[in-house]
C-alpha cells in the first residue's frame, strides 16, 4: 500500500465506509467507499464533506441547502447519519 512511511507500512487494512448523500431531490449512492480508521475519522470525514458541499452551494448563489449524509459500514449497516440545514436570511 502507499503509505509514505520510510519505516515501512502497516499493511493492516482499515474498514471501508460508504457515504451516501441526499441533497434536495438528488441522491448519490457511494459505490466505492473510503477506508477510515474508526468512527471518529468517519465523523470528521462527514463534517469535511458537508463543509465542501455547502461552500459550493453558497458560492453557486443558493441561500438554502438541506443535505443528509448516511454512512454505512462494510456489512451495509448504517453507522451514522448527519443532516445539515443552512438558510441565509438577508436583511437589507
Amino acid at each position: 500500500m502507499i503509505c509514505g512511511s520510510a519505516g515501512g507500512c502497516d499493511d493492516a487494512a482499515m474498514p471501508r465506509f460508504r457515504f451516501h448523500l441526499t441533497i434536495g431531490d438528488e441522491s448519490l449512492v457511494d459505490a466505492q467507499g473510503v477506508e477510515l480508521a474508526d468512527l471518529a475519522a468517519v465523523r470528521g470525514h462527514v463534517r469535511n464533506a458537508i463543509a465542501d458541499i455547502i461552500g459550493d452551494e453558497l458560492a453557486g448563489g443558493r441561500d438554502s441547502v438541506k443535505l443528509a449524509i448516511s454512512v454505512s459500514d462494510e456489512a451495509g449497516d448504517q453507522v451514522l447519519e448527519t443532516t445539515a440545514i443552512l438558510t441565509c436570511r438577508h436583511v437589507f
Binding site: I2, C3, A6, F19, L28, V34, I69
Partner: protein, 235 residues
C-alpha cells in the same frame, strides 16, 4: 522501441544521435511495481533516479493525522525524483497507482547525462514544465470551485497523455479512485462523486470503470478555464 522520455524530450528539440543513444541506454535496470505500492518514500536517500516507463504514479505527502495530499501525477516519460541528484533526500513519497514499470538510473549516469548540453537543456525544460504544472495546481486549489477544479485536472491529464501518445480520441484510462481525486484536489470523495455526476449531466465527460470519456472537450475546457499553454507542449 523509443522509450517515453526520449519521445517527450524530442518534442522539445532535436537531440544528436549520441545524446539519443545515451538516453536509450538509460533503461537497462527496469523494475516492476504492483499497484498501490511505494516506489520511494519520504526521508529515503535513493542511490538511483527513477523514470516512469509504464503506468501511473503520484507524488504525495502524508500529514500527521494520516490524511494524504497528492501533489503530482507522474506519467510514462516523467522522472520521479531527478532533484535527488542535487538534494540528496526525498521530501515526499512516490507511489505507483497501477502496475508500473520504472527504470532505475544511477546518480553517476545522471551526472553524465547532465554534462551533455542538449540533454541538460531538455531535462531543465522538463523540470520547468513540472514547476508550471505545480503553479497551475496552486491556482486550481486557490481560485477555482470544485466543478472547475475537477474539470481542469481532467483537461490537464488528457493533454499530457495525448502528448506521450497514451490517450485515444476523447478517451483515456484514468487508474484513479474517487479517493485519489479527492487527495489530489483537496475535496472529499462524496463531493467528488457529486461533481462527476454533474459533469456527466452537463454532457462534458463520464468516468466509469477507470475510463474517462470526453463528450465535449470545448465545453469541458471552457468550464475549467483551461488553457494548455502552461504545459508547453509541442504543436
Amino acid at each position: 522501441m523509443t522509450h517515453p522520455l526520449v519521445r517527450k524530450l524530442q518534442s522539445v528539440g532535436d537531440l544528436a544521435k549520441a545524446d539519443l543513444d545515451l538516453l536509450e541506454a538509460l533503461v537497462s535496470d527496469i523494475r516492476d511495481f504492483g499497484a498501490r505500492r511505494d516506489i520511494i518514500r519520504e526521508g529515503e536517500k535513493p542511490d538511483h533516479v527513477h523514470l516512469m516507463l509504464e503506468g501511473w504514479s503520484c507524488r504525495y505527502q502524508v500529514l500527521p493525522d494520516g490524511s494524504k495530499q497528492i501533489t503530482a501525477f507522474l506519467l510514462p516519460g516523467d522522472f520521479c525524483d531527478v532533484h535527488v541528484t542535487m538534494l540528496g533526500e526525498m521530501d515526499h513519497s512516490i507511489g505507483a497507482l497501477n502496475a508500473a514499470r520504472v527504470a532505475f538510473i544511477s546518480r553517476d549516469v545522471m551526472r553524465e547525462l547532465i554534462e551533455r548540453p542538449a540533454i541538460a537543456r531538455a531535462l531543465w525544460w522538463a523540470s520547468l514544465v513540472d514547476e508550471a504544472v505545480l503553479r497551475a495546481w496552486i491556482v486550481n486549489f486557490g481560485r477555482r470551485d470544485s466543478f472547475e477544479r475537477v474539470a481542469h485536472l481532467i483537461c490537464e491529464l488528457y493533454a499530457r497523455l495525448q502528448n506521450v501518445g497514451l490517450a485515444a480520441e476523447n478517451e483515456f484510462d484514468l487508474p484513479l479512485t474517487q479517493e485519489d481525486l479527492s487527495d489530489a484536489l483537496g475535496l472529499t470523495p462524496v463531493h467528488i462523486s457529486r461533481v462527476l455526476k454533474r459533469l456527466r449531466q452537463e454532457e462534458m465527460m463520464t468516468f466509469k470503470r477507470q475510463q474517462i470519456s470526453i463528450l465535449d472537450i470545448r465545453k469541458l475546457q471552457a468550464a475549467a478555464g483551461f488553457d494548455p499553454s502552461y504545459l508547453h507542449l509541442a504543436d
